[in-house]
């Protein structure tokens, strides 16, 4: 019985590949003949593919829940002691399962695209479907012929080897799907772009559709990145959330390019400018997601970070090359239809602020790409193995980030086409005033760190811009609709959903930058304490009160009991600990964090001596870190506000 269910999952994979291939062929035929009926068949086939990939994933999840350790994938990624919650997450814990999961998400996206746009024009939707299905066929073929998660050993092991304890954390169950939804989601706007290029339907129609899906993907990708940082901060014990690791860069680069696309699409929608540029942006975003997948799976880059190298990288390299060639070819073929109808009239204009923001975002993305790939190039050319660490990325990404932040304050207020200096001084009174006030106050309080000052100043500037925009919007509604200020505030989100939701996202980014600025003041210290000894650090006092050992069947937990006092008041008991996972023969440190809005106290148990009753502790003082998480949350809320179907209800 158990075997049958799983066997079913395996056959479902073939069913999915067949359906996807069917949809691919029929959408091509539908496009060539302009045949609605064939496109309907193709659409139904995409739904069949989504059904089959769902069954395949269910088969694996079932195998995990049943503990079918004869299946190599289940054996390699779970064991009997694992909680059910983590067994669900084990689906994407390893290479082959995560590829299948990837395929499943893509097929679900495609099914939703089919559902939402079923009444849209066949000439646009058919090539869009073809593109989506080509990508799906690629992934399903990889799973079936490259790295099959249903592969079985010829004996039945009694138990699995388990999932790495570091990955057994709630954030690790939410973070990968979020990231995948983001990475895969950008396939949809890419497919629409290809659809528009192939069909020649290059008006605002495709752009609006693509933009909506791009915002969905962008939201998931951003949330996924922040969740990844949260996991790193809680679980990895080095006191930070971002280390410019190639794996992080892989998902950060498409996020930057996607951000640029979402913004410049607005310019095209409104001004019929930047058509080629937008094509380049959405294609770059997609290529960067494939590149990111390639980087994380090939083992080519940063050979230190990954162990085994798998030949899957070569398939991705081929896929990457094909995507670039096809998309560039299409853009060149359609270059005449992509000519802009309007032009950049002045540097002092909203168009120009958007464009510069775009360039900085894309420049940042490619600089990160260069830094990620550079070690590979030098090794190939000079034979020297080198590495570029966080200081390298920080020294150019801080100015890049500040440039973006500044333009976030300029873009929404500066007039279209051509602005005058006298007009600007009127519009920017509040933001500029706030900027100067913030810097002045910080200087009075003795903050002299240049980057931190600029960051806080720009944060105040952007806040001023957002405030001005809301104030103007509310006042306009009060005048024209006679609404009270509170009703007007809420109506802004239903009437100007994209715009005001977008400002909430900007506010989230401002809060995130406050968190970044805090990183300039991080301090760290370490010491060894005997029982009863107290360690003074800033206005904190940490008293070590002994070790506690807790033994469960699979894990031995050893924690240090530390009493934390702040300004001579006891505020918390912190228990940094080390867990010894017997089966994996692996140690996992669990940090203790005392988080406040002002600063986090981050405590790690470095080592301990049970006999002497001594513990070595390492401490990080991380100011304003909480704002990073809060800002992330606000950003996600703003994104949801943009996407919620608020307006539809009013139309009916």
């Amino acid at each position: 019985m158990r075997g049958n269910m799983i066997q079913l999952g395996y056959y479902a994979l073939w069913g999915a590949l067949g359906s996807a291939a069917f949809a691919l062929v029929f959408s091509v035929l539908a496009f060539r003949g302009g045949r609605e009926d064939l496109q309907t068949s193709a659409r139904h086939a995409t739904w069949a593919a989504a059904f089959f990939t769902t069954v395949a994933c269910a088969g694996i999840v079932y195998a995990f829940l049943m503990g079918d350790y004869q299946m190599e994938y289940v054996w390699g990624n779970s064991d009997r002691d694992m909680p059910t919650f983590y067994k669900l997450g084990a689906l994407w814990g390893g290479q082959s399962g995560s590829l299948l999961f990837w395929g499943w998400l893509l097929s679900m996206y495609t099914a939703l695209v089919g559902l939402r746009h079923r009444k849209d024009h066949v000439r646009l939707m058919a090539p869009t479907t073809t593109t989506l299905m080509s990508v799906l066929v690629f992934f399903l073929a990889l799973v079936l012929f490259g790295t099959n998660p249903f592969r079985r050993a010829d004996f039945i092991p009694p138990d699995g080897v388990g999932l790495n304890p570091l990955l057994q954390h709630p954030a690790m169950v939410i973070h990968p799907p979020c990231l995948y939804l983001g990475m895969i989601g950008f396939t949809v706007p890419f497919a629409f772009a290809v659809g528009a290029l192939v069909s020649g339907r290059l008006d605002n129609d495709w752009l609006k559709k693509a933009r909506l899906w791009a915002v969905v993907a962008w939201l998931f990708l951003g949330a996924g990145n922040i969740l990844g940082g949260w996991w790193a901060y809680l679980e990895l014990g080095w006191g930070g959330y971002w280390a410019w690791d190639p794996v992080e860069n892989a998902s950060f680069m498409p996020w930057l390019a996607g951000t640029a696309y979402i913004h410049s699409a607005m310019i095209q929608e409104r001004k019929q400018m930047l058509k080629i540029w937008n094509m380049v942006l959405i294609l770059s975003t997609f290529v960067l997601t494939v590149m990111g997948t390639f980087i994380t799976r090939s083992g080519l880059i940063s050979s230190v970070h990954s162990f085994a190298q798998s030949n899957i990288g070569y398939y991705f390299a081929g896929f990457l090359l094909a995507s670039i060639v096809v998309s560039l070819g299409l853009i060149i073929w359609r270059r005449n239809e992509l000519k802009s109808q309007q032009h950049l009239d002045s540097y002092l204009s909203r168009e120009s602020a958007f464009l510069f923001g775009n360039l900085i975002l894309l420049g940042g993305a490619f600089a990160v790409l260069w830094g990620t790939l550079f070690p590979m190039f030098t090794e190939a050319i000079k034979g020297n193995r080198i590495s570029l660490g966080p200081p390298f990325f920080n020294q150019f990404m801080i100015p890049v980030g500040l440039g973006i932040l500044f333009l976030m304050g300029v873009g929404p207020l500066i007039p279209w086409r051509r602005a005058s200096w006298s007009g600007l001084s009127k519009v920017f009174t509040v933001p500029a005033g706030l900027l100067l006030a913030a810097v002045a106050v910080l200087l009075i309080f003795g903050v002299t760190h240049a980057y931190a000052l600029v960051t806080f100043g720009f944060c105040a500037f952007v806040t001023g811009t957002i405030f001005t925009e809301f104030k103007q919007g509310i006042q306009a509604r009060m005048r024209s609709q006679g609404e009270n200020p509170i009703a007007a505030f809420f109506r802004l989100f239903t009437k100007g959903q994209r715009r005001y939701g977008g400002y909430i996202v900007h506010l989230g980014v401002v809060i995130i930058f406050i968190g970044f600025a805090g990183a300039a003041f991080t301090q760290e210290s370490e010491t060894t304490l005997g029982r009863g000894e107290t360690w003074h650090f800033r206005n904190y006092a940490l008293t070590y009160r002994g070790l506690a050992v807790e033994q469960t069947p699979s894990v031995e937990r050893i924690s240090a009991d530390v009493l934390l006092a702040k300004n001579d008041h006891n505020v918390a008991v912190m228990k940094p600990r080390k867990d010894w996972y017997q089966k994996n023969q692996q140690l996992a440190s669990e940090v203790a964090i005392h988080a406040t809005l002002g600063a986090d106290l981050y405590l790690i148990l470095a080592s301990f001596d049970e006999k002497a009753d001594r513990a070595s502790l390492k401490l990080y003082w991380n100011p304003l870190v909480s704002w990073y998480w809060i800002g992330g949350l606000v950003m996600v809320l703003g994104g949801i506000l943009v996407l919620l179907p608020l307006r539809r209800r009013q139309l009916t």
Partner: protein, 154 residues
Amino acid sequence: MTETTPETKGRRAGRVRFLIGFVIILSAVGFLVARGAKNAMVYYITVTELVQKDRGADLAGLRVKGNVVPGTIEKDELVLRFEMSDGVTAVPVTYKGIVPDTFGENGEVVVEGTLASGNFEADFLMAKCPSKYEAEMGEEDKGTSVQSPKSTGV
């Protein structure tokens, strides 16, 4: 459309403005990247290269990769001593700081620091656990997280 200038002229001027902005931003980012690359570069060398050529003297940032020699690990509160080897040569290493959870005998390590009188003083240590099952399975976990330098305290 409300162009005041003739269509072609406006287009050309707009394109020039676009190009100038493009070049300025590209060169600014390029400059920042290039400026940092020189200072931030860290060289990878093997233990043999480190000892024989004594390259510790002339290069500031050195990253050495090797395996922990079994039975050489000594831990004294916050100071860790061990020997690492590339199969040919071994060198003693001293490291002060948080020891990654994945550090262990026979495991692969990457250390960063300087060579001083035959002893490598590391200010950074990165370890990979000798993953048994991954090698056996012939395929690899995504390569994220576990192997990232984060996991090891960059």
